[in-house]
Amino acid sequence: MIEPQLVQLLTPEGERVYDDVYETSLTAEQIFAMYRDMVIIRRLCNEATSLQRQGQLALWAPLQGQEAAQIGAGRALEPSDFSFPSYREHGIAWCRGIPPELSLRLFRAVDHGGWDPQKYRHSVPTIVIGNQALNAVGYAMGVQRDGASEAVITFFGDGATSQGDVNEAFVWASSFDAPVVFFVQNNQWAISEPTIRQTKIPLYKRAQGFGFPGIRVDGNDVLAVYEVTRKALAHAREGGGPTLIEAFTYRMGAHTTSDDPTRYRVDAEVEAWKHRDPIERVKAYLVRAHKVSAKKFAAVNDEADEMALKLRVDVLAMGKPDPLSIFDHAYASEHPLISEGRRDMEELGVGGAS
């Protein structure tokens, strides 16, 4: 299933392997930090799932299985880089310093965004599949015009690669040498449709047809993802133009909490991927190669539990927004239909947050 062209630095068993192109200078400390990130976002994801089951969220899009892809990519970003996510990049949001509860505002249906996208240099979630890819290219064209040494990264799924917008983004990024990295998490599924419905050849090869490099990385290997992404971002910052990274990974859970994957995929496939668990892999490596103690691992678990507890408290505290707030940002300046709507709502006696 995994192709030979795949960049890998850690085997599924956590053994360190070597690649002709990619080396890593990450210290044990840094790798452990990424392990911690991964444990925390998995915990975040599980907590969100149970919050949803308990009726506290409208929906949740789990990232389980994709932790290495997201933490590897997220940690490769410089603070000055800018990222454009879809709706599943809770791990990237974490790396960008966004407080976890803000990632849940969208899913609690109290907000369409949740965080300050300029402050965290991480754009609002995008649900319309793939259309943020063009926004990322435009932002990168702005970076270029500013003469800044920054890179832009945009995240989308295997399914998104079929959208016209994503392919137009490839055309434009190439035409303008835009400093942008297209990061596809090929988690093998677009809801119920396997990647084969979107492409018959490995996705990373799509880039070739547009004249820029594409590369496939083992998306469950946080070291490899980190190094591949870091290099692509540096390449972009140096004026080398776009790169397409295909992180070959797996969506271990349902598409969202509304989904029922038993209708379209077999357990055996999920089982097979369990052996490639991204967290176990790096843990095995840390234990074997760096003798990280059980205590340190346990401490991370505790930390994750605390985060989850706080997350729950924060989410439960998110009240219903004031209905009048819907008029606040429809326009940036006075608009008669907005004033009228606000007046109507006020006259109906509606308003005030709960």
């Binding site: 599949i129 677009a190 209708r263």
Partner: protein
């Protein structure tokens, strides 16, 4: 049966009746669509007739156009209202125009199914009401059922109709049950239907707001107001005759839909009936619609949408106008 099931049965019957009917959309095969409207159809009709589409709406509609030219009768599903916009060019430039551009040679009979509207507590882009865009587009027709029985029949009538039809399914009503008479169609596809008789005010609506309007009428009755409720059913063209007849009687008009009011279907209904019923109108027509903002986070959608309170308020306004 539920509306989702009624649609499923209607699709099944249409596919049995005509081997050229085929379905296309994202996740409509094994999954049966995210609302299960196509549940079981791929199993029974095969992958060639129930086609799981790559993730590209423009392509879903664009290939449906080609299939229609080839003599097929495609029924496409757009997974949610907010995802129809990438297909807008194909709908407006090809679907709506090809019959005319080919001087009537290409028959563009096809159905574009869109689960639409809000009220289901969803996240962004899953609660939009795009029907106004299509109603404005010459070459298209737009319909919306509000009951399982209408759903069952209207989908079949749409599939056999020679013009392209935007079929707006009120997703918040998918799980509501109702009687379905599988023997006789209730009425023509483009006919409005009076769902409740009344003498004081005429409320015109369609799709997801029909139930809300009936509830409002009920509530108004308890305050001694007699409200007539008309389900437009066809959004474009609109069947004005029963509406005008009703206004002759009531002289008061309220139009309700979830879409924003500006340059919308309700603008058209008010403008048109203000013209047709100039002398019978005793008060200006009032619209109750989504506000002129993007669809809000769904925690506050109840306040954004035309709810019973807002409709009652509108009824009060038209009743109180002359005083």
């Amino acid at each position: 049966m539920t509306m989702a099931k009624a649609l499923n049965e209607g699709l099944r019957r249409a596919m049995e009746a005509n081997p050229k009917v085929l379905l296309m959309g994202e996740d409509i095969g094994k999954l049966g669509g995210v609302f299960r409207v196509t549940d079981g159809l791929q199993k029974d009709f095969g992958e060639d007739r129930v086609i799981d589409a790559p993730l590209a709406e423009s392509a879903i509609i664009g290939t449906a156009v080609g299939l229609a030219i080839r003599g097929y009768r495609p029924v496409t599903e757009i997974q949610f209202d907010g995802f129809v916009y990438p297909a807008f060019d194909q709908i407006v430039s090809q679907v709506a125009k090809l019959h005319s551009r080919s001087s009537g040679i290409y028959e563009m009979g096809m159905v574009i199914r869109i689960p639409f509207g809000g009220g289901i507590g969803a996240i962004e882009h899953h609660s939009e009401s795009p029907e106004g865009y299509f109603a404005h587009t010459a070459g298209l027709r737009v319909v919306s059922p509000s009951t399982p029985n209408d759903a069952y029949w209207m989908i079949q009538q749409s599939i056999t109709h020679p013009d392209p039809i935007i079929f707006c399914e009120p997703k918040c009503r998918y799980w509501e049950k109702g009687e379905v008479d599988t023997d006789n169609a209730p009425r023509g596809l483009f006919e409005a239907s009076r769902l409740r008789e009344g003498s004081d005010v005429t409320v015109i609506t369609y799709g997801p707001s029909v139930r809300t309007c009936l509830r409002a009428a009920e509530a108004a009755a308890s305050e001694g107001r007699s409200v007539e409720v008309i389900d437009a059913r066809s959004i474009a063209p609109i069947d004005y005759a029963p509406m005008a007849a009703s206004l002759e009687k009531t002289g008061r008009l309220v139009v309700v839909h979830e879409a924003s009011a500006n340059a919308s279907v309700s603008s058209e209904i008010v403008a048109r009936l203000s013209e047709e019923c100039f002398y019978s109108l005793r008060a200006p027509g009032v619209r109750v619609t989504g506000y002129h903002t993007p669809y809000p986070p769904s925690k506050v959608e109840e306040e954004y949408l035309p709810n019973v309170d807002r409709i009652l308020d509108a009824i009060d306004r038209v009743m109180g106008f002359e005083s």
